[in-house]
Symmetry: C2
Subunit: 112 residues, 2 copies
């Protein structure tokens, strides 16, 4: 039941985009619809491996998406619908964010 | 005000430990005290660069800690108080977790 909110434990190397963000209080409905749509859209992209996402009651969220390689991330960044969503994010949805692109070197799961 | 929940935008490369976890409903008080203590302790470790952490109302949490290099992560893993906390995590606090070690290749912040 909870396992579907985890990405699979894949064989490294692969890539992660770590997106830590603080929401403004603005446009919750528009934000939620777009966030859901972005997950749906990402799943159609070549090289998409999974996503993990959570947010607390203060609006601090962390979303980590996983990708086969750098080219997959570049293709996702270039997607026009995603580009439009990022623009709205910059304009109204995020008070602050940090985005990091990382190469996964090893992965474990548990409890052991 | 919210900025203190973000790690700094550091110059890559550096390392991240991405810990995605689902809490059991068990021992919230003990868990919270230990989680706070682990952040306090990590800050004293050589090579610790920062941490970002959030959890939603269903108990799905993502904590990303940042480290200068692999040796810093190995030292943190070997710390005895941290090892004891991980054991409690395996025994009672986590229903499931995925842990990934990654090399940060580039980082941005926003909004732009």
């Amino acid at each position: 039941m909870t396992a579907n909110r985890f990405a699979k434990t894949l064989k490294a190397p692969y890539y992660a985009v770590i997106f830590t963000n603080q929401r403004t209080g603005v446009d919750g409905e528009g934000y939620n619809a777009t966030a859901d749509r972005m997950v749906e859209l990402a799943q159609t992209m070549p090289g998409f491996l999974g996503v993990e996402s959570t947010r607390d009651e203060t609006g601090l969220g962390i979303t980590v998406s996983y990708w086969r390689d750098e080219q997959s991330i570049a293709n996702w960044k270039a997607n026009s619908e995603h580009t439009s969503a990022r623009q709205s994010g910059n304009e109204k949805w995020y008070e602050h964010y940090e985005l990091r692109v990382a190469k996964i070197e090893r992965a474990y799961k548990g409890p052991r």
